[in-house]
Symmetry: C2
Subunit: 753 residues, 2 copies
């Protein structure tokens, strides 16, 4: 409340003062701004100011921030530091402040903001020619003011907007000077001087393309605009060349430029192959440039491009979040990043304005509490004020991967009850470019905003300078990207595709079935036959809501058909405290690692036991909730209690636990498990409610290439039969299956009764 009061006061001050004391600017005669803010939008916004709360508050905050920066004075230091260091941070602040100052100049009409942008640009123009590149040569594309071209592109994307806002206010000789001495050379630096950076299909290059395109639009420089949209001439390049991240430099088809970056990594459903964390990062350049193109090159119809994929991408991204709005950390993803980030503010506003005014987006904007300071934000603010928002209830959905949507995907199963939400994220997507992880057919599970079974995410402390300058840590490659860091099967201790990027990039799982039409029985199933040549993996994940149980439970059926005998490890990366196990185990006197490569070298073996039964149970407590894994076992299966953290000389890894079911010397087999959230612990009342599983057992009755039959035994003397067709996913096929005492007939991929 206090914050709101302060903002209101600020808002009042802005509108009451701005027409009195300040030197106001006449409407200029040129046609700028025309990039993001337009002359007509500026006029309309000015008539609304003071009556559009969320917009007014955003503007007041921007004013507060920029006024403080002006007060502090301009600082354009010679580049020196890596991410997190002083010069890096200062240059980041500078472009953020300039972009806002440009907006403030236009909307409030106070010349001091234009002066601030101008003076800072002149400083940049002064030092730009005095050095070649940033002194830290740690990137495959070393930047100018930053250690990598990526950050320089950020600078140019934001600064272009500021420049556009003061362009007509500046004397012509000054724009000519800046164009010639700063902006055009900067655009050339990011493109022709860094072709390996500029010509990729990658989020980095998207920023590069957009940087060049935005400044091209401001300067009406058609050459830059075309370079931005279609890339550089490629000549004879090696399509297999890789960057220092291990990713390919060039697109498989050799395409480049902004449109290629829309074409290739986005699936028709709007899923971005690198994963949500990088999609979030890329959304800003994609959408801000689309907005600019729509303003200046409306004939391109960029928002209709690829059947409107840019708008679809915003919806996809919002759906790739947990109940708190945090992105699922698929592939390289830092946990905690959420749709509250500023790039999603822009994305939501732009998607609302240029899409079909999906009023669910308004409720996200309302949570974000801030808008983009342009026509899109104005519209959102007006419609929020008019109370048009609808709730954004995330539903189960399948998001295809691959530019044509035929390279697997992500299946999200959700169950929303009054008090809780459960979300299962099944990853059977493609490699995901250089940020991809080697986890085919893995899944993670969420309850409300909490991780139940986690995807480790990346190993990095973004912008924490002490941790490798805020960059990726060695352990990202040696642990986080490996298969064992995920909830999926590892064969013979080797990661999928032998951890080979080229192999991974050529292959992908195939969706077998996705059907969430029955909210009480939602199923997602996929196959992968290239992760381990000679072995076919087929995993089916089902979210079942049984009337007798308060919450849905998960059935996980993992079939392996191989031409050889193997060791199969199936890990479950839980959190919290072990409460009970159905099997005996022992703990060692000293800890050693589970292996010496493929990530196993980072895992301590904290204890192990033999299943010695046809079904085991493992109960744990986390976040004051009780969970149980019930799993069908071979009697000789080994159960391993594992914990990350070995061979971690800088303590970069989190010490997270997992339980691993290890099946040795086996050719064809089925792992069948039930995962339940069944109880709660209240430490104030000291009451453990439903601390025990509702199941006594899960049994694999039979499993072959055609069918897998499973029995689920409830403690309340009830049992359910689950039969899955493994070959034919046609929902209309009639099946029959002989059990000992009867024949079961059904239509479609599953039987459950």
């Amino acid at each position: 409340m206090q914050k709101i009061a302060r903002l209101l006061l600020l808002s009042i001050l802005i509108y009451s003062c701005s027409n009195d004391n300040k030197v106001l600017v006449e409407d200029s005669e040129g046609n700028h701004p025309n990039l993001i803010l337009t002359k007509s939008a500026v006029s309309e916004i000015k008539t609304q100011l003071g009556a559009i709360p969320i917009f007014d508050e955003t503007l007041a905050l921007a004013k507060e921030e920029v006024d403080e920066a002006i007060e502090k004075g301009i600082a354009v230091p010679m580049p020196k530091d890596m991410a997190g260091g002083y010069t890096h941070t200062q240059h980041k602040l500078n472009y953020a402040h300039m972009q806002k100052a440009g907006v403030l100049f236009q909307l409030l009409g106070d010349k001091k903001y234009a002066v601030f942008v101008r003076d800072m640009l002149l400083e940049y123009a002064k030092i730009f020619p005095t050095f070649d590149t940033h002194p830290e040569p740690r990137s495959y594309a070393t930047g100018k003011f930053f250690w990598q071209c990526l950050n320089d592109s950020n600078w140019l994307v934001y600064t272009s907007q500021a420049y556009d806002c003061i362009y007509d206010w500046l004397p012509k000789d000054q724009t000519a000077y800046l164009n010639k001495n700063l902006f055009r050379p900067y655009a050339d630096f990011l493109s022709v001087k860094n072709p390996k950076y500029f010509n990729r299909v990658h989020n980095h290059s998207t920023w590069g393309n957009v940087a060049v395109g935005m400044i091209g639009l401001v300067m009406d420089d058609e050459e830059l605009i075309n370079r931005s949209l279609y890339g550089l001439e490629k000549g004879n390049v090696d399509l297999n060349e890789k960057d220092n991240d291990g990713g390919f430099i060039y697109d498989k088809e050799g395409k480049a430029g902004f449109l290629a970056n829309v074409d290739s990594p986005f699936s028709p459903d709007g899923f971005y192959t690198e994963g949500p964390y990088y999609q979030r990062y890329a959304m800003y350049p994609f959408l801000i440039f689309a907005e600019a193109l729509q303003n200046k090159k409306p004939d391109l119809k960029i928002f209709d491009y690829k059947e409107g994929v840019l708008i679809k991408a915003v919806d996809a991204l919002l759906n790739l979040t947990d109940a708190d709005g945090e992105f699922f950390p698929l592939n390289d993803g830092q946990k905690g990043m959420s749709y509250y980030t500023s790039s999603l503010v822009s994305a939501v506003d732009i998607a609302y304005y240029y899409g079909n005014q999906d009023t669910r987006l308004l409720s996200v904007a309302k949570k974000q509490g801030t808008v983009q300071l342009d026509a899109t934000g104005l519209k959102v603010a007006q419609d929020l004020k008019a109370g048009k928002e609808a709730p954004f209830v995330k539903q189960s959905m399948m998001l295809s991967d691959g530019s044509k949507g035929d390279e697997g995907g992500i299946g999200i199963l959700r169950y929303n009850s009054q008090d809780d939400t459960m979300a299962l994220v099944y990853k059977y997507a493609a490699q995901g470019l250089s940020h991809g992880h080697y986890d085919k057919l893995s899944f993670s599970l969420y309850e409300n905003g909490d991780e139940v079974l986690q995807d480790y995410g990346l190993s990095r402390f973004v912008n924490v300078e002490q941790k490798n300058g805020g960059g990726y840590l060695k352990e990202n490659k040696t642990y986080a990207k490996h298969t064992i860091a995920h909830n999926t099967v590892v064969q013979n201790g080797v990661s999928h595709y032998k951890y080979d990027f080229e192999t991974g990039s050529k292959n992908h799982p195939e969706q077998f079935v996705f059907d969430a039409s029955d909210v009480n029985f939602q199923i997602a199933s996929a196959k992968e036959s290239n992760a381990y040549p000679g072995t076919e993996m087929h995993r089916t994940l089902i979210m079942i809501k049984d009337d007798a149980l308060g919450k849905p439970f998960i059935v996980d059926v993992f079939n392996l058909q191989s031409n050889s005998k193997n060791q199969y490890d199936l890990p479950f990366h839980y959190f919290g405290q072990i409460i009970a196990t159905s099997f005996d185990y022992s703990v060692p006197k000293s800890l050693t690692t589970l292996g010496d490569k493929y990530g196993y070298n980072h895992i301590w073996n904290e204890g192990s036991g033999i299943a010695n039964a046809e079904s085991i149970q493992f109960t744990w407590l986390n976040n004051r909730r009780f969970y149980t894994l019930t799993s069908a076992t071979s009697k000789s299966d080994e159960i391993i209690f594992a914990r990350v953290g070995a061979n971690d000389p800088k303590f970069n890894l989190r010490k997270d636990p997992s339980v691993i079911i290890r099946r040795n010397n086996t050719q064809n087999t089925t792992f069948a498990s039930i995962i339940e959230s069944h109880g709660t612990y209240n430490p104030v009342k000291e009451v453990a409610a439903n601390a025990y599983s509702s199941f006594s057992k899960i049994e694999v009755i039979s499993s072959d290439e055609d069918y897998t039959a499973i029995k689920l035994l409830f403690k309340k003397e009830e049992e359910k039969l689950l039969i899955l067709a493994n070959k034919d996913s046609n929902p209309n096929t009639e099946h029959n299956f002989k059990l000992k005492d009867k024949t079961v007939n059904w239509k479609g991929v599953y039987y459950y009764k």
Copy 2:
């Protein structure tokens, strides 16, 4: 909002229906109820119902709960299970329901509630004589319906209130029957048949005393009342006899009974020697019986007893909580327990009513959102409605320990700013009876509601049946109670007092100084000379708020003067991820324990290094905040990264980390450290703000029996000199101290400039 709406509806239903359809009860002719509810209170409450929101809501919830229980039917099973099991839980539910049903009968006048209590009591009376004790003989005092007398006492304390509410409604032959066949024998069972249970000074016995006293008051049985107040005749008992928890059976002075339990464990400040977790548990019997005594034996003036210690105890307990209201887990304490627990609802209401109507208590009651259903709750509800509450801002305070207040204590230093609160809890208290831990001069640190440097608390999952029936775990004795599980010095790897309970119980630290009068320089200091014979430990903890820094920092000065050379270990039990260290270290290929006893056997050595400098720094990240420990070292000091979890065959322990400064082969020495919370990490903005310490170094200039002089070096080229007088704590003594280049003069125990 939904919940409140539902409650309002329920409230309306209660008051609109209760006078129509139900068989109402005439005012009875006897003098019951007169224990907690009284006839006059009932009359007054009835006139207010419907107009006292928090009371109405509490009553509506009670009605909902009891109606559901009545619907379900009465179940009084033969005792069988331990805590967490069915019969245990059912008997607990029974007394809770009966107590509430009694209140509902009185306040709503619906006979069905009296019938419910009566019928259940008759069931209990039927089975009571049919067996001797509970079948699980795991306690030193096996109970009847429960595995320990403690729970049976709970039953009787609650059930006495229910019985009182229907006493006059029952036919006289039925009360006579119940008195003779259930209540009197039950009271005898808990006292004369279990003298070792009944005659202790211990929270268990308090419950026993109160159970006997409450039912005595209901039955007007003066013998029971006297037995309750003064204990059993002791005869020739062995004062050194111990129970199976390792605690003494009898009070040092041989006193027993309720008044002895007020006299002995409470200090004059209201601190309860077992610690806040058990104080919270004991508050209910203490205060509910005090209320009953005040109602029936007002001449006792129980609330004035020991200068009003029972009311003071409520204030002390509320101050022994973090920003979320959770109790500091000193000694045996389960984390997460808070002042939202029902015993604190009673305590707050009773303290408000019978104390001096401290309006700060109303704001706690408001947060609790519920009241006791009697005159005290009525008063709270009325005064809350009248808007009388004042904020309960916790201040720094010293709480003495020992019945006379001369056995050390707890020093709490707090700093409250607009956004954050910092709380340091310095423990220099006495042993704390059988629930005490061996950590003299230890401390823990909180920021807002989060632990920064933790006290491990107990090792137990209370009421989680799978974990040893919900009882204490072996690791409580082998790890949690040991010194190394706390933030204080361990000499030669041996716990304080050699982990000997008798030695611990005979000794305690002595407060040297506590002065929180200057909010920018708050100091607590204490000495301990018996934990290690021949070694004097003197620790001073200071919370300093420097204008240049946003948050206060802690200076920790730990002096050791010994007659021999020793190894000193000073652990800091942090949480989270290591970000940076000023020293080099290496990590082992396999993990081994730090030792083989005194808790060291449960700790893995995850890595270590040599300080190799006169001051080291250690920065970590937790809860999105950066912390740094800056510590003066000898060059040969070893720094050990430790983690709990070794030799833990049932995974009972949490895998929590610590950093240990180890100083070898040293006689007299001073550990001087700075602990700062200096920065934040925002994963949405990916900004690390103030990720570095504000200090470059801390130096011990000199340290001897008389003075310790320390220099704090800020990075901003400033330094501060801190001199502590070690012998004379008189605030008026004039000191002078010669430095190399000057002489410093000051008055009082410290100099800081």
